[in-house]
Amino acid sequence: MKKQFNRMRQLANQTVGRAEKTEVLSDDLLQVEKRLELVKQVSHSTHKKLTACLQGQQGVDVERKSVRSPSVRSNSTLQNTLTLLKLLMCAVEIPNIQKQRKHLAKLVLDMDSARTRYYQSTKSSGLSSNLQSTGAKVDHVREEMEEAANRMEICRDQLSADMYSFVAKEIDYASYFQTLIEAQAEYHRKSLELLQSVLPQIKAHQETWVEKPCYGKPLEEHLALSGRDIAFPIEACVTMLLECGMQEEGLFRIAPSASKLKKLKASLDCGVLDVQEYSADPHAIAGALKSYLRELPEPLMTFKLYNDWIQASNIQDQDKRLQSLLNACEKLPPANNNNFKYLIKFLSKLTEYQDVNKMTPGNIAIVLGPNLLWTHNEGNITEMMTTVSLQIVGIIEPIIQHADWFFPGEIEFNLTGNYGSPVHTNHNANYSSMPSPDMDQIDRKQNDQSRRPLSVATDNMMLEFYKKDGYDSHTVCLPLYIYNNVWPKCGAVVQMKEDNSCYHGF
């Protein structure tokens, strides 16, 4: 009991005051010890990070699997693991040294206490008369002291040896870190390479992405991005309306349900189309088409030609007015001209049903005109919206009335098939499940996909030809003949007309 208490007191003294502690290690070794502490901290934190990194990768891998190629990933992981193992070795050595250091401290303590006791006993032996018993006790204590000193020395030597060897090996440890950093550098380099190689792929993928928003985007941009001639919403809406909306009273006049319209616009924006859902709601389709035209950054009939159109509409003489309108029409950029033609051709077809749908050219012009042409100076709103609206009616109405004179020749509305939607197999299902009066026609059209682009091309070329020849009815037959000779495949034009005829059927 007393011994233990003494020990405690000694320990307290030593730790608090460090008074009696005997320094058994040389200065060098003390410095080594400090350094050891530093190395320990560094390697410990690195170890922690690496472990976290390795563990983390397991989780992240799943997400990144698609992007990162497996070989590179495992490679860098392997390197990391290797370094980690080395570091672990290093980390194992350090605790060993530390354990010994602790052991040494304990031994030093033992030795010190033994020494103290020895001094005490020698002192007391000097005072005491009973020499023999005290002598034996002193001897015993001295032996104890010597033993402790011995043990301490062995341990100190061991520790010193370990520490020296650690110092010697420190360069190796440093090299482990170097390896680690190299591995990390390599890893990051490879990651960078990988990311850089993946980036163009993703970009390319995005460029070929079919679901691109089209509302509110410039016409040219949309056409270029999607590789179309006719804007997707225009073609989709027109083909759908041809199926189900031609006899709807007040088409384009009667407003659709706002929520339905919003949904349809959003679905057109991502290129998905549930034809079946909207076949019962032609007003939503017409509304979506109107919205698309209205939301174009520039009207389909362009800002630049605004004055041309207005001036043309102010001409009193009808023939001159028509000619003037035609001139403006020809000034339209090709993309706008194509889409405008497509739309006018459709609207002209719509007026064929005016007995049922009540949409005369004039009516269509009133409700659609302001979506086709507007001016960018917001000046007098009242004037702009009313006077100009009426002028626009005066522009659109004759163009719809004389659609075949403005844009001679038949036109294929279903250019890309599938309601103009991009290739989505599920849409085929929708398409064929649609109850349709001219099923055979549709089936045939789907099989004809390969031929369609050609028919469009020739159609456009013929148009160019007509333009050069000034729309004379005699020359209209001629180019067709010539083209048929020069380019035998032009039979597609005839095919195209047959395709079109199906729309008259209902």
Partner: protein, 199 residues
């Protein structure tokens, strides 16, 4: 030209094809045309009695086929009274009025002192009815406005509609008749001139 303060401006709103123009034409001209022509915007004028004097009732027939928010805001801010027309044969047309009412509320701040009539037109087409009278009444109650079902075709409730609308105006004392008989001076303004006139 009547003086600015003498004008009493009524604006007719509603979805496309509900019969705004038909109502206005029936009231102004007493005729019904069975044609189908969308309106860009027309303004009609009629002399009525107001505060023991005469003033011009100016009726603006708006378009229902394409909404230009700027245009709508302008009409609302200039209008003294509003007729919101839907067709009893189309629930959708009643839905269309909701944003318009909200816009009136937003621009006028409060609809308390503003005469507003909710009108269910085409009451003759009972067979195609989609919106029950009760529903129209409920909507009118919610909007704290008056309600009426009309038929421009059969001339049912058309005159009453305008009479009641004018009666709702508490700031002025107005009635359709001048010296006991309806004015024959009603005229349809020239379309283009109508647009440019000082309102």
């Amino acid at each position: 030209m009547p003086e600015q303060s003498n004008d009493y401006r009524v604006v007719v709103f509603g979805a496309g094809g509900v019969g705004k123009s038909s109502l206005v034409l029936r009231f102004v001209k007493g005729t019904f045309r069975d044609t189908y022509i969308p309106t860009v915007e027309d303004t009609y004028r009629q002399v009525i009695s107001c505060d023991k004097s005469v003033c011009t009732l100016q009726i603006t027939d708006t378009t229902g086929s394409h909404q230009f928010p700027a245009m709508q805001r302008l009409s609302i801010s200039k209008g003294h009274a509003f007729i919101l027309v839907y067709s009893i044969t189309s629930r959708q047309s009643l839905e269309e009025l909701k944003p318009i009412y909200q816009q009136v509320l937003a621009i006028k701040g409060s609809t308390e002192s503003i005469p507003i009539m909710l009108v269910g037109n085409k009451s003759d087409e009972m067979a195609q009815r989609e919106v029950e009278t009760k529903e129209g009444e409920a909507q009118a109650t919610a909007w704290k406005c008056a309600f009426m079902e009309t038929s421009a075709k059969t001339n049912s409730n058309v005159k009453e509609l305008f009479q009641e609308l004018l009666a709702l105006e508490k700031k002025r004392d107005m009635s359709l008749s001048i010296d006991g008989k309806r004015s024959g001076k009603q005229k349809r303004a020239d379309k283009l001139k109508g647009k440019c006139s000082v309102m």
